[in-house]
């Protein structure tokens, strides 16, 4: 397809590119002093991956947009098959089968699964005739989500499976489900968390009752919502026992990082130290002692934001967050403008994925969210993730280019 390049959204592409370049610089800083010579070249590998990502981006932008729409379910199927396959023949690292080992590179099928689910849901919501609150509509879309999400959960990778849920949630919202409904769908999870202590649970349930009484969403709805809350709260101890030890310790650590400062709380404490010691201006590029001297764990992947905070200070963090904010603003604008419902849903879902990982990752680095192991979009080291995010940008840019199409 021949494009009129001037009509591409260069601002969006520019922001994504800027973030990717910042990422490469931070990866360089994070691994520059590493004792492993392999790790020292991570930033070069990431630069190479950026080239691959740009290539994928260019290919997708040149594809006819209809093509994506038509093949949405095929992508979904491929994603689900890969996710199933990785459980069988995947490479096991740190107790989780998350990667295909393809010689020098490893491929994470959950990224493919994310795009598959995004396309499939966008297509489902764009063409379904079912009314917004219809139970079949909710159930079918939930089923589409649950298949890949459960496969990811089986790896096990709680954080990534949450991304699948977020895509569904975002599209429910964007396709017209009332925010009140969404809130009540989420409340059982809040119940699950607060039930870890009887007092917090009691307070939560009282608050829920007050909320339902004030909003009056209907008797049946209220009863269902309240019982489901009660039910989820009661299975908390059971669920807790089903969690893996590392998941338990992550939750305990989030609630109290000082609980085990040399063990599970170590990452959060060291990350806060890195960011806090950066101060207003930061310690300067390649001068972060926390990163350089190995105190910051997983600093080129999960905790890349902490390297940013340490070396470039509040100023650097603000620049990156503003860049992300602009990206979301831009994406939402495009999503509103697109005339094709498929395109609009696609953009909304893609934005939700980027936004969710952005929130969870930075929230983890500054200690206001538990450790989930989700990388920061565009910045964290990881080839497949970078390609995934550039694919999402490509989808958005392509949708924007064809905004007038129905």
């Amino acid at each position: 397809m021949i494009l009129n390049y001037r009509n591409l959204d260069w601002k969006l592409i520019g922001v994504a590119f800027a973030l990717s370049v910042i990422g490469i610089l931070l990866i360089m800083s994070a691994t520059h002093f590493s004792s492993s010579s392999f790790e020292r070249y991570y930033y070069q590998r990431q630069a190479l991956w950026l080239c691959v990502a740009m290539f994928v981006f260019a290919v997708i932008v040149h594809l006819p947009f209809r093509f994506l729409d038509l093949l949405a379910y095929l992508f979904y199927a491929v994603g689900v098959i890969l996710l199933a396959l990785v459980l069988v023949i995947g490479h096991t690292r740190l107790g989780a089968s998350r990667w295909f080992d393809l010689g020098p590179i490893s491929l994470s099928p959950s990224d493919v699964g994310k795009i598959g689910l995004l396309l499939a849901l966008a297509r489902f919501f764009a063409y379904t005739r079912l009314p917004v609150t219809s139970k079949r509509r909710l159930a079918l879309s939930a089923l589409l989500m649950l298949v890949p999400a459960l496969l990811v959960l089986k790896q096990p990778d709680l954080g990534t499976s949450l991304v699948f849920f977020v895509v569904l949630f975002a599209l429910w919202f964007w396709s017209g489900l009332s925010p009140l409904y969404l809130l009540l769908i989420v409340t059982p999870i809040a119940s699950l968390v607060t039930a870890s202590h009887w007092l917090s649970w009691a307070i939560y349930l009282v608050a829920l009752l007050v909320f339902l009484t004030l909003l009056k969403p209907g008797m049946l709805f209220s009863v269902v919502a309240f019982t489901s809350n009660l039910g989820f709260g009661m299975i908390t101890p059971f669920m807790w026992n089903r969690l893996a030890d590392y998941q338990k310790s992550r939750i305990i650590t989030f609630l109290d990082p000082g609980h085990d400062p040399r063990g599970a709380g170590y990452q959060i404490i060291q990350s806060k130290i890195a960011i806090g010691s950066g101060g207003l201006w930061g310690k300067g590029f390649l001068s972060g002692s926390q990163a350089k001297l190995d105190f910051l764990p997983e600093r080129h992947t999960d905790f890349i934001f902490s390297v940013l905070g340490e070396e470039f200070g509040l100023l650097g963090c603000l620049i990156v967050i503003v860049l992300f904010g602009y990206l979301f603003f831009r994406c939402l604008k495009i999503a509103v403008r697109c005339r094709s419902r498929f395109a609009s849903y696609l953009i909304a879902g893609a934005t939700a994925i980027i936004f969710f990982q952005f929130v969870v990752n930075i929230g983890m680095a500054i200690g206001i969210m538990p450790v989930t192991g989700l990388p920061l979009p565009f910045l964290s080291y990881g080839g497949t993730a970078l390609v995934l995010f550039w694919t999402l940008i490509a989808l958005i840019v392509s949708a924007d280019y064809n905004w007038q199409e129905y």
């Binding site: 017209g176 890195a274 806090g276 207003l280 105190f295």
Partner: protein, 598 residues
């Protein structure tokens, strides 16, 4: 659509604001606190331990020094389970549970070497080096270990060093000491610890989280260590050596030799001793138990803490008190000695059943006649004796520069009343005290100090071991002898007592006649301390040369019987050695001094 768009934008805005809030809290509000944590993260403070001061004898020979040694360590993170420690235990002879216990005690992080064993012999290190593949995670470092080169028994004054233990660390200055640093535990090592240890320096390193050192830490200046001061002791290693040798044939006892003119201690030994070298560093529980439960009490420093009745060596006080109190003069006599003295219903024997007849004071000392002393003691009274005893330095520490000295016991009426009850004891006790038996308890150093006073015109200098201190800046500070007190005796009394000392060796009745020789004059007094638990202890205090005394030597040999038979020849040997060095070897070698007979 418009509502959703606005709602979504709101969500983004709220999240971004939350992040700003979180960042401002960390990077502005908590910045100082977190910066400090980041600094302490990468900062490793390493103490620089200076070499401990060396102790020399009066002729500059080393008594205590430092010896290079190897300390064996394990890096816990690099250790291979079931291999490293198992292989190691076959080489160093510690079992794996012991090694583990040491590692737990000394480990700082998983990545830093945790010392397992100090002072590992070189041949073991050679094995570890050669078969290094069998010992992953094991490393060794050069270190210094305290070495005691003086003969065993010298531990009585040198003491030893050990690691500062967890309960000791609370009682010392935290600026000078830290857990695990070496501290003097006994003797001079303890008394002069602050001088000997110098001041630890501090090195600051920047480290990886693994503990691996990156280089010096730029933010803090390295503080160099200050070496410890060296001590020159008044000890003469030749006499010290001999003092130990003469004990080879006996179980237990003590010897102290002093220069009466200054109070300098020339030799000081307590027997049996133990090897201070094995106590330097970590003392295993089994070794500690073996030493501390040994029936011969090697840990007891008998010179300072051994409490013995002085026996006949005390008679100088009885006679001195009698002369001063004008109970007698030099020509006075008492009822003759027929081998004993009837006091009330009891018959107090003289040590010599044959009896001594009629004696004056000097001859009573010469023959050590008990009957003379009984009668003199009764004239002075129990409190009179006690008063003179106290004025001669008994019943209180001498103030020697060694820690933990015992006071001894100087009983008087008050003491007996509280001990036995008023009127529940009789004057018979006075008779015992007059011959140095009964409840009186003295230490060898007290007795030596008293005889130093007799030999030095009544002037008693405080006993001390440190002659001079050499500071690390090269300056030396001699320790000036300090006058401790004066004996309560006039010139004429002192002359009479010294005549008594002379007659003990040179008189026909003298109890130490065998020490007589024609090259130098020697005086002294024998003693036999009655021991309710076994054979009597044998005492002798010798003074030489009599015309201008330079050495006073006091010896006690436990359970060895009469002073004249055992302790006197022991002291004779030591004085002979001293005079040999003073006069030239050959001349003295011809002198007929009897060898020590067990």
């Amino acid at each position: 659509m418009g509502d959703r768009y606005r709602l979504a934008l709101c969500v983004v805005a709220v999240v971004v604001l939350f992040m700003f809030g979180g960042l401002i809290k960390l990077q502005i509000v908590q910045h100082d606190e977190l910066s400090a944590l980041s600094e302490s993260n990468r900062l490793r403070v390493v103490p620089i331990v200076p070499p401990r001061g060396i102790m020399y004898d009066r002729e500059g020979r080393q008594i205590v020094n430092n010896r290079p040694s190897y300390t064996l360590s394990v890096v816990p993170a690099e250790e291979v389970k079931g291999k490293t420690l198992a292989n190691l235990s076959t080489v160093i002879g510690l079992d794996t549970t012991q090694i583990r216990r040491n590692v737990r005690r000394t480990m700082i992080t998983q990545y830093q070497p945790a010392p397992i064993m100090r002072d590992v012999p070189f041949d073991k290190i050679a094995v570890l080096e050669e078969r290094s593949g069998d010992f992953p995670g094991i490393s060794y470092q050069m270190d210094r270990v305290r070495q005691y080169v003086a003969p065993p028994g010298s531990e009585a004054f040198s003491g030893y060093v050990g690691e500062l233990s967890a309960d000791e660390v609370e009682r010392v200055d935290p600026d000078l000491y830290r857990l695990g640093s070496m501290i003097g535990k006994k003797g001079l090592e303890k008394q002069y610890d602050q001088l000997l240890r110098g001041k630890e320096g501090t090195a600051y390193f920047e480290v990886f989280s693994s503990g691996q050192v990156l280089g010096p830490y730029a933010g803090k200046q390295r503080v160099e260590a200050v070496a410890g001061a060296d001590l020159t002791l008044s000890i003469d290693l030749d006499l010290q050596q001999l003092a130990t040798q003469v004990f080879d044939s006996f179980c237990c006892g003590a010897i102290v030799a002093m220069d009466p003119r200054t109070g300098e201690v020339l030799a000081l030994t307590s027997y049996p001793g133990f090897d201070a070298n094995v106590f330097s560093g970590v003392v295993s529980e089994s070794l500690w138990n073996a030493v501390s439960t040994n029936p011969a009490h090697p840990l007891l420093n008998r010179d300072l803490n051994g409490l013995y009745p002085p026996g006949s060596t005390f008679k100088l006080i009885t006679v001195g008190a009698g002369l001063e109190e004008r109970a007698i003069d030099i020509n006075s006599t008492f009822r003759p000695c027929y081998g004993g003295y009837q006091f009330g219903t009891r018959f107090f024997r003289c040590w010599d059943k044959g009896g001594h007849g009629i004696l004056t004071a000097t001859h009573a000392l010469e023959a050590s006649c008990d009957v003379y002393m009984y009668q003199l003691g009764l004239k002075i009274g129990i409190d009179g004796l006690s008063k003179y005893m106290g004025a001669c330095g008994f019943g209180k520490p001498t103030g020697i520069d060694l820690p933990g000295e015992a006071a001894g016991l100087n009983p008087n009426t008050e003491w007996y009343n509280s001990r036995y009850g008023k009127n529940r004891w009789t004057n018979a006790l006075t008779l015992n005290n007059a011959i140095g038996q009964g409840e009186i308890l003295t230490t060898p150093i007290q007795l030596a100090q008293f005889y130093c006073g007799l030999a030095n015109h009544g002037l008693v200098y405080r006993p001390h071991l440190v002659k001079s201190i050499r500071y690390p800046n090269g300056k030396s500070a001699p320790v000036t002898p300090e006058l401790s007190f004066k004996l309560p005796f006039s010139e004429s009394t002192l002359a009479t007592l010294n005549e008594g000392l002379r007659l003990v060796v040179e008189g026909n009745q003298g109890t130490a006649r065998r020490l007589k020789n024609d090259l130098y004059s020697i005086g002294g007094k024998t003693g036999t301390a009655q021991n309710p638990h076994g054979n009597d202890h044998s005492w002798f205090v010798g003074v030489a040369p009599l015309e201008n005394p330079e050495i006073v030597c006091c010896a006690i040999v436990e359970n060895a019987g009469h002073g004249s038979e055992v302790a006197a020849p022991v002291v004779g040997q030591i004085i002979k050695k001293y005079m040999e060095k003073k006069l030239g070897l050959n001349k003295v070698a011809q002198a007929t001094i009897p060898e020590v007979q067990p």
